[in-house]
Symmetry: C2
Subunit: 403 residues, 2 copies
């Protein structure tokens, strides 16, 4: 089956989230993405979550749909093989994605000698090349002090490695942009992308940096949506829901569905505010929430669900990840983005393919992650045209491994 | 100044985060991105944070480096102008990014009649086309129950609209992938991308879905890094730091820098664990943290900083957004990603350009966001070749506006 990037080949030398996610994004859109690993796996090979037998669900999740080659790249001969693979011929090849230091067999200037139109994207911790990870970048961005209960003094770390996920998509995007340039101008290049810069750029784009620079110090607002109305509530039968009144239409629907139009008008008059203005809804968020809470906490979830859907309220139900997986039809093979994969050493489970739905292509099903070195021999034979006796010798010398 | 996407033109009809961020990403890489807005601005035109004069720093942050055309697209004539703009000629044009319902003047099938090779990317709430926003998607993903203090029972919402930011990058990437396909195969297409699917795909890729499906229910772990060692600590002079021991090297550096090698060996022996295994470090995280806390809480920040840097520890300091902006040299014009912009109705402040550093291009400085309709006349003249007397009539009829 073909998809939008079928034919493109990318070599990936990576670990953890951003680079593997960037590579997998391209792989799930049809690219042939070859992850080069050390013979016993990289630094992320045992990253949690793991199965009872210590098989990493994290690694398998982030390397789906790729091919794997295992090379002892600490030997000169292994490093040479890796370099040959990166600089191998082909109009749609010659692309490298890495989050390792761009030196040794990953040195762009050196690789360029072998393939002048090489495109290399190197993800760095910071722009100086210092190491940094999502867990160290996030505390520097200030958001942990805005997360969690208004009563709390302590920072709250995020659980989603959001900066990594954003950077992973940016890495894939950077490669496509450079490949476009190469297609038009026949030149390759080296692209550097720092995790810390991706985070700071996002902070700038969302207005956080401007707000602080212009003299505001935003406090914590708990689970309130900032700048309009939104908060979580609990129904009489203990279901927690999130309710949003960001746009005028959402706000009107919410008032209608909770029979609170008159009450909200009175409240606004009393406070000398105008709730058609989103900012005024934010200013009065606690009083608004009090009115809504009186209503919502007296209704069952079913009543709320039916009334809210009837009026087109923007809302959702909180659910645990286990509930998402067990109960939500969107997180199942009902959703064409998902299919069950048979993952070696793990078993069968639900996996997502690419979320894009291109009208010219059927969706590619998610493919299992490879086992370490699963494609070592076929890659050396197919791409580097190494014959089987040579491949045998490389195995004997411990320079490559296959699973 | 040129950058990697100079020459490409994208029409954007959007509001809020994902679509404007996707468009701005392309704009900051050199594309000519034209945002079409209603004459009085879209739903996000007053989104907080705002200045004291109610000018949106959010809107200005997410629309930097674009051009703006203001059209009353509720009139047939206005809708017709918008359609002409979207389907205008040019090999590098014919691209549309929207998060509005793909109907009326945004109906792909209709637009395709005018430009058969049109590429349209439509961001949807869910794959059925129902509305959903980051604030309603996130509660469904289960992460709010994993965020915050281990003692808490209640969900903690994230403050960064992470799903929106991820989807924004995905939107830009989807457009580039489709443009590559068009360049090769001369065909356009419609791409749908649902926010809820982007979120669930990410949950799958990180292993959260597999973990739940295989029977684990992950509890909250507060500020601990999951699956290895990492946590926040406070120095004797009350600075909070994040400390990571994810890789073997990071763990060894941390033990060395805190003089705790022997203590950690003894602790591991006592617990019958092997701290060279990241999972064992996680199992013993509380005891490890106790040892480290005894050390760190007795040292000043300066001592910690000097020892940790000397030993190459992976760590960072928590800072508020205000501290980031006021004190961190990376968040200043020392960093070539940043420059000061003069934003109409706001003033001068620091803004980020694109975080990618392409070796063939100098970085494009961030450009201010346009005022609403700032480029209305020039766009109609330049792209649709409408003469100035016609443009005058469109103004008179209230079909377009300029600022």
């Amino acid at each position: 089956m073909k998809n939008i990037l079928t034919g493109m080949r990318v070599i990936e030398a990576s670990a953890f989230v951003a680079a593997p996610l960037g590579g997998m994004t391209l792989a799930q859109l049809g690219a042939d993405v070859i992850r080069i690993d050390a013979i016993n796996g990289g630094l992320d090979y045992h990253r949690w979550p793991v199965t009872k037998h210590n098989v990493s669900l994290f690694w398998n999740g982030l390397n789906k749909s790729k091919r794997s080659i295992a090379i002892n790249f600490r030997t000169p001969e292994g490093a040479e093989l890796a370099k040959q693979l990166i600089s191998a011929e082909g109009d749609n090849a010659g692309m490298l994605l890495t989050n390792f230091p761009a030196r040794g067999w990953l040195d762009y200037e050196e690789l360029k000698q072998h393939r002048p139109d090489l495109i290399q994207l190197t993800i760095q911790g910071d722009r100086h090349g210092n190491s940094a990870v999502d867990y160290t970048v996030n505390p520097s961005m200030g958001l942990p002090f805005l997360t969690g209960s208004e009563q709390s003094q302590d920072p709250t770390n995020h659980v989603l490695p959001a900066w990594d996920c954003i950077t992973g998509q940016m890495a894939a995007l950077g490669l496509l942009a450079a490949e476009r340039h190469r297609r038009i101008n026949k030149e390759g290049q080296h692209i550097k992308l720092a995790l810390a810069d991706a985070a700071m750029a996002t902070m700038s784009h969302l207005g956080f940096i401007a707000e602080a620079q212009l003299g505001e110090q935003r406090p914590r607002y708990g689970n309130y949506l900032f700048g309009a109305f939104g908060r979580d509530f609990v129904t009489s039968d203990h279901h927690r829901i999130m309710v949003i009144g960001l746009t005028p239409k959402q706000w009107q629907s919410l008032c209608l569905a909770t029979d609170s139009q008159q009450q909200m008008l009175d409240l606004a008059t009393q406070l000398n505010l105008d709730f058609s203005q989103e900012g005024d809804r934010f200013i009065a968020r606690e009083q608004i929430a009090e009115c809504l809470e009186a209503y919502i906490s007296a209704q069952t979830f079913n009543t709320i669900q039916s009334r809210f859907n009837q009026h087109g309220v923007c809302w959702s139900r909180y659910q645990s990840i286990n509930e998402l997986v067990a109960n939500d039809p969107e997180c199942s093979t009902n959703n064409p983005m998902f299919n069950n994969i048979e993952q070696a050493n793990v078993g069968s489970y639900l996996a997502a393919g690419a979320p894009w739905d291109f009208s010219l292509f059927d969706r590619l099903p998610a493919q299992p992650a490879p086992t370490l070195g699963q494609h070592t021999d076929e890659i050396l034979s197919e791409i580097l045209r190494i014959d089987s006796s040579q491949i045998g010798k490389l195995h004997d010398k411990g320079i490559i491994a296959a699973s």
